[in-house]
């Protein structure tokens, strides 16, 4: 139930983000979800793509500093309080969320949110036990 996310270190330098987007586009990689965290000096671009290994190879060969990070893709009811219900489960189990971001696409009545949490295995177990649906890597890449 773990999903591979690409995390890319980006210097605050004009055109650096364009380069990533162009390289991936030229390589036929489709971006499924993304988030950009930034400080005044650098940023970290986090991507969920349809072909993670291929995307890693393309960016690494182009000289980017990147790594795989394991995250979970959680189906969240697309209604008021939907996200809160999932967060409450994690909080009740003392699981810290490092960051999260949403998928652009929707699946039926649910939204998909990418979570990076401490103790990934424990989080997966607890969420599934509470009936929260997690998407597999294949499902996410194929979205």
């Amino acid at each position: 139930m773990r999903v591979k996310q690409l995390s890319i270190f980006l210097e605050n330098r004009a055109g650096r983000l364009d380069e990533v987007a162009e390289l991936l586009g030229a390589g036929g990689i489709n971006i499924r979800a993304l988030s950009l965290a930034d400080t005044s000096d650098f940023g970290i671009l986090r991507l969920i793509v349809n072909h993670p290994e291929e995307a890693f190879r393309i960016l690494h060969e182009a000289g980017f500093t990147l790594r795989f990070t394991e995250v979970i893709a959680v189906e969240v009811p697309d209604q008021p309080g939907g996200l809160a219900s999932v967060l409450k489960i994690l909080r009740d189990s003392q699981l810290n969320v490092e960051y999260l971001y949403a998928f652009v696409e929707k699946r039926a009545a649910s939204a998909i949110v990418i979570f990076r949490v401490e103790e990934l295995d424990r989080a997966v177990g607890i969420l599934q036990q509470k009936g929260v649906r997690l998407l597999s890597s294949e499902e996410v890449c194929g979205l």
């Binding site: 996310q5 995390s7 270190f9 980006l10 210097e11 965290a37 400080t39 000096d41 650098f42 970290i44 986090r46 000289g63 980017f64 500093t65 990147l66 790594r67 990070t69 490092e98 960051y99 990076r116």
Partner: protein, 220 residues
């Protein structure tokens, strides 16, 4: 490097210091204690000065080595400024010799920057970075002037295998480098993490320093 030479060749490798203007090698040499180079004081008088003011500094203080030859007849030198940066230690050595010991040369005064009246040697920053596992000892110093204040920016490459996905870990590293550099230099600095392999490598004369202060267009 010394250790690997010693292990491979089964020898003791010792540092010898000299300069062609004086006699070439043989001004100072290490003993088997390998803890500083004894200066042959029966032939040379060593002094350490502040390269900016010329003031003579005391034992242990880092500055420019100045040499006077006593016994040379054809080409004597009096208070010759070597531009080499070191310090002198007059404490008796465990080997029994009483000649003053100079530390290994840590830099050249040619590289010295004066930032807010503080002497800064790029080699000081390099040695801090050598001690930080997560950073490459590749760096670039950028000196600016903001209003009437000099500012120093240190750009450091992040090692790929230590790249973290979490902002707070990278910021912790940034802060640690900043604190360690500041405690050595004694002046405030700005540390910027940059992508690996983006700074010039020290092949020949690398552009380690970019001085953007008005009137100092030069780079080292």
């Amino acid at each position: 490097m010394r250790k690997s030479i010693e292990e491979k060749m089964n020898i003791d490798a010792l540092d010898i210091y000299g300069l062609s203007e004086i006699i070439g090698p043989g001004v100072a040499a290490e003993c088997l204690e390998k803890n500083g180079l004894h200066v042959f004081e029966d032939h040379f008088i060593p002094e350490i000065i502040d390269p900016a003011t010329g003031e003579v500094l005391g034992p242990g203080e880092k500055g420019e080595l100045v040499l006077t030859s006593i016994t040379k007849e054809a080409f004597p030198l009096i208070r010759y400024r070597t531009r080499d940066v070191t310090s002198l230690n007059p404490e008796p050595c465990a080997c029994g010799r009483t000649q003053v010991r100079m530390a290994r040369i840590s830099g050249r005064t040619d590289d010295m920057l004066i930032i807010r009246r503080v002497n800064v040697f790029p080699s000081q920053i390099e040695s801090v970075l050598m001690g930080i596992e997560e950073a490459e000892p590749h760096y670039q110093l950028i000196v600016h002037k903001e209003g009437s204040l000099d500012t120093l920016e240190v750009q450091v490459e992040v090692l790929e295998r230590f790249f973290s996905d979490e902002i707070k870990q990278l910021e912790t590293l940034q802060r640690r480098i900043k604190n360690e550099i500041e405690s050595v230099l004694g002046i405030g600095t700005r540390v910027k993490l940059v992508e690996p392999r983006t700074l010039a490598r020290s092949e020949g004369k690398a552009k380690r320093v970019i001085d953007e202060r008005p009137g100092r267009g030069e780079t080292h």
